[in-house]
């Protein structure tokens, strides 16, 4: 896993709970914690930190990962604004993942293992996203989608009728978007 993921996690934890909270997580997990964005680190480091945070907050790993995804998006939007500014809706933004954003990620982080999404665009207001990855980070995807919806001032409802964690071949995220002001 690329160091940038750990940097984002540190930043969010620090933002919400202070510098010492991150120090505590590192202490609990016995990790050194010197992560740089361009480096690659074991996936197990990530899951150890997630598990420690989940234990501290009394939540599940998936809930922590989803919260992380939600928090990560605005940070990425600040760092790489040019990916978000061309769009006004979450749906349109998401559809650029495979062809624009992830290829760019691979350029900056050689060796980055980014997923390829399987989009079903047959309905205008919703989007069915197929996700298949050995990392099984569907919760992170959900969080990011929610974060994106916030960014574009939309509301999104995500259901997940299929999940690899439940033995399905792939995860299926069905997202329905609504303009926040329509309510």
């Amino acid at each position: 896993m690329k160091g940038v993921v750990f940097n984002l996690l540190e930043e969010i934890v620090t933002l919400h709970y202070g510098l010492s909270a991150w120090d505590e997580l590192l202490e609990k997990t016995q990790l050194e914690g010197a992560y740089t964005s361009l480096g690659s680190y074991p996936d197990t480091d990530f899951w150890k930190l997630v598990a420690a945070a989940a234990a501290a907050k009394g939540k599940s790993d998936d809930e922590i990962v989803r919260w992380f995804g939600r928090g990560a998006l605005p940070l990425l939007a600040k760092r790489y604004p040019h990916f978000l500014t061309p769009h006004t809706h979450t749906r349109a933004f998401l559809l650029t993942l495979n062809d624009i954003i992830h290829p760019e990620v691979r350029k900056i982080y050689p060796g980055a293992d980014v997923p390829v999404f399987d989009f079903d665009i047959s309905t205008p207001d919703s989007l069915a996203i197929g996700y298949k990855s050995a990392r099984k980070l569907c919760a992170f995807a959900e969080g990011m989608i929610e974060g994106a919806a916030v960014h574009y001032g939309e509301r999104v409802e995500i259901t997940q009728p299929q999940c690899m964690k439940h033995g399905d071949e792939q995860c299926l995220l069905i997202c329905s978007f609504q303009s926040a002001t329509q309510r």
């Binding site: 740089t36 964005s37 350029k107 982080y109």
Partner: protein, 715 residues
């Protein structure tokens, strides 16, 4: 001072600063990585484009090569017809002008063919497709053959052509003799082309030798126009001659030197030129040859040593020739003296006689300024003191009369210059009555094949006619098959001594037919030699033929020499029964000496030569002559009666040619007189001439019939 004493705010500030620096560093690294990525992508794209371009170029080059091979095939086939048919027409009755024009057609055809070969060779070399053969060969004999092939051109321009292989140069070598010949012919040919007077000399020396290899240094020097110093390097480049005006003056594509240079490179040698404009040029090349373990079939017999008291005189106005001949004779243990003029020669002969050390052998050049070789021969003949001297004449072969004069003057042997060591050795052996050559069958002898039963498998009518004409002219019995199927059927039904097989034929091609024949032979245990006839000139084609079970390969257009050489080589090795058979003429059972005096009706030795040494074949020829002459006499009388000059000329001409071929020269002269009468339309003289012809022919007929009845034996 310790950090613990510092306020928390200072640490916070430092942390923020470090963190900012790290983020900036990461951002810079990300940017660089991205740029690097773009660069790599561009490089990959460029590499892919280059690869594509390279593949396209390679494909184009292969296509070009194939195109060239096809072109060569397509051009060769009609060339085959043009040259071959021209040769056949040249053998028929023609006016002098027609003969001259057709000879020019044949010449032009041959130049076109050699140009085609050059182009093909060059493209093969450039494509890295030229493979060198590695066979055992005799250097002196091969070089001699190559030089002889240039003799006509050199002598035609009045140039002296000589070659000199130093005695230390090993003779049995392993390498590509035909490519070596190509280089030599190119360089010598060029030298002849650019020289108007003087000499062209090939000198061959050995610069170093180990147990396994020898470095041979070839030098071709001429006394021609020379080459300016600034052109010496570039002349070996493609399409270059010394300058464009040279091209205009002398013609040629300039490919010869480029090919020679590449061939020398392929042979692991070096080629270079030295020159002084106006004084001539020297072309040098070196080749490292492996020494052959076994002796090649055509190699020199081991050094022959003559008795020490053999004294020889060399008369030649050319210093190079004197030097070469002198060295050859000295190497053979003879006491040789050389002089430049006939007068000096005669003085030397007389002085030797007076000193009681008479000279036994004189080797003289034929053409010399002032008194020539014939004058010398005449003077020797007239002097009774010198009567025992044996004379060998070196001719340039440009004067057809030379040979006749040599015979008249009792010259033992006349040799075409440049002289091969082997032929000089034979001639001296003949002159001195010594058996110097080994019992090996010389090359010329090998070509004198007995009549063979040959199957010709060829679909093109023109090529059929051509091959038929050539083969039947040499007395072979030819059956024709129009395709591979017919060929297989014919071989099933009859025993042939040889099969000539075209490769591309309808129904069944030559390769397939050969495979079928070979498969059948697995059962019968026979092996009929099969020679491929093909217009394809690539080395791979040759391999395909041999793979299919063929024994030899002759490329079209068929040239008589190549064809008969190939046949002779095959028949000698493949059919022991043939090669072992001594022609009847050789079975020393001479009972009656054939008439050989000047007024003889028929020169049996000439006749036997025409019959290629085969007495049975000679009988057939005699039989044919008798039949043909009977028919022609009827035609001649009818023509005289009907005042038909043209028919008279043609019939008399045919009779004359046949008589000449069999060595019946005095009768042939009578026929020629009638021919002239016909051509000049002087029919009033015809009756007298015809009766003279009869007078001479009748006793000849009696002698011919006696021969047929077995009353005359020719040894």
């Amino acid at each position: 001072m310790t950090s613990a004493m510092e306020p928390h705010a200072a640490w916070q500030k430092r942390y923020e600063r470090e963190r900012k620096a790290r983020l900036e560093a990461e951002a810079i690294a990300e940017k660089s990585t991205r740029e690097l990525y773009e660069l790599i992508q561009n490089l990959k794209k460029a590499a892919a484009e280059l690869r594509q371009a390279k593949e396209a170029a390679q494909a184009a080059s292969v296509a070009k090569g194939n195109f060239l091979a096809n072109m060569s095939h397509e051009i060769r086939t009609p060339m085959n017809a043009i040259i071959g048919m021209t040769e056949l027409v040249l053998d028929t009755e023609l006016t002098d002008t027609q003969h001259e024009y057709l000879a020019m057609v044949r010449e032009a055809g041959n130049s076109l063919l050699s140009l085609l070969n050059d182009t093909l060779d060059f493209s093969k070399i450039e494509a890295g497709k030229l493979e060198l053969d590695s066979d055992v060969f005799g250097l002196r004999e091969r070089l001699g053959d190559a030089m002889k092939s240039m003799a006509f051109r050199a002598h035609g321009k009045g140039l002296e052509l000589a070659y000199h292989v130093h005695s230390e140069v090993p003779d049995a070598l392993l390498g590509d003799a035909s490519r070596l010949r190509q280089i030599v012919v190119n360089l010598v040919g060029n030298a002849i082309k650019f020289t108007t007077q003087g000499e062209v000399v090939l000198d061959v020396a050995c610069t170093s030798q180990t147990d396994a290899t020898a470095d041979i240094h070839f030098t071709v020097t001429d006394t021609g126009i020379g080459i300016p110093a600034n052109k010496l390097e570039s002349i070996f480049d493609s399409f270059e001659q010394a300058d464009m005006s040279t091209t205009r003056q002398f013609g040629g594509t300039g490919l010869g030197l480029a090919i020679s240079s590449r061939l020398v490179e392929l042979m692991g040698g070096r080629i270079w030129a030295e020159s002084e404009p106006g004084r001539g040029s020297g072309f040098h090349f070196t080749v490292k040859f492996s020494l052959a373990a076994e002796r090649p079939s055509e190699a020199q017999p081991p050094q022959t040593v003559f008795p020490h008291d053999v004294r020889a005189l060399i008369v030649d106005d050319n210093a190079t020739n004197r030097l070469i001949l002198n060295e050859m004779l000295s190497n053979w243990g003879m006491q040789a003296t050389s002089v430049a003029t006939v007068a000096e020669g005669l003085a030397a002969l007389r002085a030797a006689y007076d000193a009681r050390q008479p000279i036994h052998l004189v080797i003289t050049d034929c053409h010399m300024p002032g008194e020539d070789g014939f004058d010398l021969a005449e003077k020797i003949n007239r002097n009774s003191q010198l009567a025992d001297i044996q004379l060998i004449m070196l001719t340039s072969g440009s004067e057809p009369d030379d040979i006749r004069r040599c015979e008249q003057l009792g010259v033992v042997a006349h040799l075409l210059k440049p002289v091969k060591q082997s032929e000089l050795l034979d001639a001296i052996g003949l002159a001195l009555g010594l058996q110097v050559t080994e019992a090996e069958m010389p090359l010329e002898e090998a070509r004198k094949l007995g009549a063979l039963r040959i199957l010709l498998a060829e679909d093109s009518i023109v090529n059929q006619k051509l091959a038929l004409g050539l083969l039947q002219k040499h007395g072979h019995d030819v059956t024709v098959a129009n395709n591979g199927k017919q060929a297989v059927a014919a071989i099933d039904g009859e025993c042939f001594d040889l099969v000539l097989m075209d490769i591309q034929m309808p129904e069944m091609d030559g390769l397939e037919a050969t495979a079928v024949v070979r498969a059948k032979e697995m059962k019968s245990g026979r092996h009929v030699p099969i020679i491929a006839l093909t217009a394809h000139a690539m080395a791979e084609d040759r391999e395909r033929c041999l793979k299919a079970g063929m024994d030899g390969y002759v490329s079209k257009p068929i040239r008589a020499r190549e064809l008969f050489d190939t046949i002779a080589a095959l028949i000698a090795t493949e059919v022991p029964a043939q090669s072992g058979k001594t022609p009847p003429a050789m079975q020393g059972q001479a009972t009656t000496e054939p008439a050989t005096s000047a007024d003889a009706l028929i020169h049996w030795t000439v006749a036997l030569q025409t019959a290629q040494g085969n007495q049975d074949f000679l009988k057939e020829l005699v039989q044919l002559l008798l039949e043909e002459s009977a028919r022609l006499f009827v035609e001649i009388h009818a023509a005289i009666k009907e005042q038909d000059a043209k028919t008279l000329q043609r019939a008399a001409h045919t009779l004359k040619s046949s008589l000449k071929a069999l060595g019946a020269s005095s009768v042939a002269q009578a026929a020629e007189r009638l021919e002239t009468i016909g051509r000049e339309n002087r029919l009033s003289d015809a009756n007298a001439a015809a009766s003279l012809l009869h007078q001479r022919f009748d006793p000849l007929k009696i002698e011919l019939l006696a021969f047929l009845a077995g009353e005359t034996t020719i040894a």
